[in-house]
């Protein structure tokens, strides 16, 4: 019964919180937000696919903080690169071999790569074993691949335990 009413309990909670953030905290909004979030989850539940859940939430939090710091730090680097003359740029494509599996972890990895400056993920290969990345400035290809694998893919593998 409870399972049928709340097919996605975490999503329901997040929706309710967002509703309360966007409005004021009052009993009326609590009830209205509760009804709306339960309704949305009931409608959306059949669309959900199975995907690996976060096994280690603390590590995920550390990962998010690390990515945030990386974004800020390396944005200065890209700012310098953008303002320097075009001739000194060496843009290029890199094919990144993936050890990670599952759509959700791969989506997180691709988004992280896009958000950290200097790299944009372009496409996956059909068999989901390779990720094509466009890099703003390549020194050596191996260094780029090593950095991404070490710094972002390794923690993600631990977080999703796959």
């Amino acid at each position: 019964m409870i399972k049928r009413l709340f097919p996605m309990p975490i999503h329901t909670l997040i929706l309710l919180l967002v509703w309360l953030f966007l409005n004021d905290f009052s009993v009326g909004h609590l009830i209205l937000g509760f009804i709306i979030s339960v309704g949305i989850c009931l409608i959306a539940a059949p669309l959900m696919d199975e995907h690996p859940t976060v096994k280690r939430p603390l590590l995920a939090l550390r990962y998010a903080l690390m990515v945030l710091l990386d974004i800020i730090k390396s944005n200065f680097e890209v700012a310098v690169r953008v303002l320097s003359p075009n001739a000194s740029l060496r843009p290029g494509m890199v094919a990144l071999p993936l050890d990670l599996e599952g759509e959700f972890p791969l989506a997180v990895l691709a988004s992280t790569i896009s958000l950290t400056p200097g790299t944009v993920s372009v496409d996956f290969s059909e068999d989901m074993k390779w990720l094509y990345v466009h890099v703003l400035h390549i020194d050596t290809e191996e260094a780029v691949i090593h950095l991404i694998k070490q710094r972002y893919e390794q923690p993600l593998k631990e977080i999703f335990a796959c």
Binding site: V18, F21, L22, I71, I72, N75, V78, A79, V82, L83, N86, L89, R90, P91, G92, M93, V94, A95, P97, D99, A110, S111, T112, I113, S114, L115, T116, P117, G118, V120, S121, V122, D123, F124, S125, E126, D127, K129, W130, Y132, H134, L136, I138, E141, I145
Partner: protein, 130 residues
């Protein structure tokens, strides 16, 4: 001026400068793929700074802790990589040329067909590492 206003002013100026750098990169960089880098990152960080400054100011002015700004910046941080990915894919699909001197330009062909880079012998640059 209070301390919070100083911090907010600093964040506002930093945000403005980053937004401007994103736009300068937009005009100056040589092809679509390099241009993707400037707006998706510099602009997103810039707007994040401005939103945090706005959050501080609203908290100090005693209208309660306005969390809406946080929702907006979270939304932008989630959607920016997705739209960058979609634009890059569309550019590849339409065979928008890359700038001369791009490293591994042959990989674009395989990325468009969604093959693995080892599919065509000779053009592979990297063996899968375990």
């Amino acid at each position: 001026m209070s301390l919070v206003e100083w911090i907010a002013s600093f964040l506002l100026v930093m945000g403005g400068v980053f937004v401007l750098i994103g736009a300068v990169g937009m005009v100056k960089l040589p092809d679509v793929y390099t241009r993707l880098h400037a707006p998706t990152k510099a602009t997103t960080l810039g707007i994040g700074c401005i939103l945090i400054a706005s959050m501080c100011l609203h908290a100090v002015r005693g209208e309660g802790f306005a969390i809406q700004e946080l929702v907006i910046s979270l939304f932008l941080f989630i959607t920016a990589p997705v739209s960058a990915y979609m634009i890059a894919k569309a550019a590849l699909h339409r065979r928008v040329p890359m700038r001369d001197g791009t490293v591994n330009m042959a990989l674009a062909e395989q990325a468009r067909e969604r093959q693995s880079p080892t599919a065509v012998p000779g053009s592979a640059t990297q063996q899968p590492s375990e």
